[in-house]
Amino acid sequence: AQSVTQLDSQVPVFEEAPVELRCNYSSSVSVYLFWYVQYPNQGLQLLLKYLSGSTLVKGINGFEAEFNKSQTSFHLRKPSVHISDTAEYFCAVYNNNDMRFGAGTRLTVKP
């Protein structure tokens, strides 16, 4: 079965600074990768997904992620964050009708 490890439980950053949220996965088969964002008291919203093709994937709200098969990583990046990006971010791996999530990274953007 596949699994996901999010390497940082909390990431504080100042407004307009760049940010990277790290995600590593393990799977013995090809998988599809996702990043979701969760705002307080809400469900999860899809940010972006990697299915195939270009390893650099662009999503909503200026986020992008790079798939690295040799390092089994799918790190999320944003060149300049805003206060409104403060939320919980989840990396997920999907294979054969099974979507598994990491423990999450709490991104806090400070003024």
């Binding site: 997904k49 099974d98 999530f101 990491g102």
Partner: protein, 112 residues
């Protein structure tokens, strides 16, 4: 186009009681997955329903059961509630899972 609808939004139950949570999937979606999200943790997969059958199941006891109806809506039932069952329960729907899941806002269950 309505997204995923879950009801109720909040619920308080006593230990030992039973609870039923409901989910209406996004229009056009035929698969429903349920997740439990404890405070400060990631969603944990409970089970998935497709064509009114349980297709996949996570590591949850038999106290957790579900159902899917012909209109694709779904219920999650939890019997003999424990304090540890307190969590946000998320429903997600999909048509083809690789395209991503659409989540509802969840049901906050508190067991006292």
């Amino acid at each position: 186009d309505a997204g995923v609808t879950q009801s109720p939004t909040h619920l308080i139950k006593t230990r030992g009681q039973q609870v039923t949570l409901r989910c209406s999937p996004k229009s056009g979606h035929d698969t429903v997955s349920w997740y439990q999200q404890a405070l400060g943790q990631g969603p944990q997969f409970i089970f998935q329903y497709y064509e009114e059958e349980e297709r996949q199941r996570g590591n949850f006891p038999d106290r957790f059961s579900g159902h899917q109806f012909p209109n694709y809506s779904s219920e999650l039932n939890v019997n003999a509630l424990l304090l540890g069952d307190s969590a946000l329960y998320l429903c997600a729907s999909s048509l083809q899972g690789i395209l991503g899941y659409t989540f509802g806002s969840g049901t906050r269950l508190t067991v006292v």
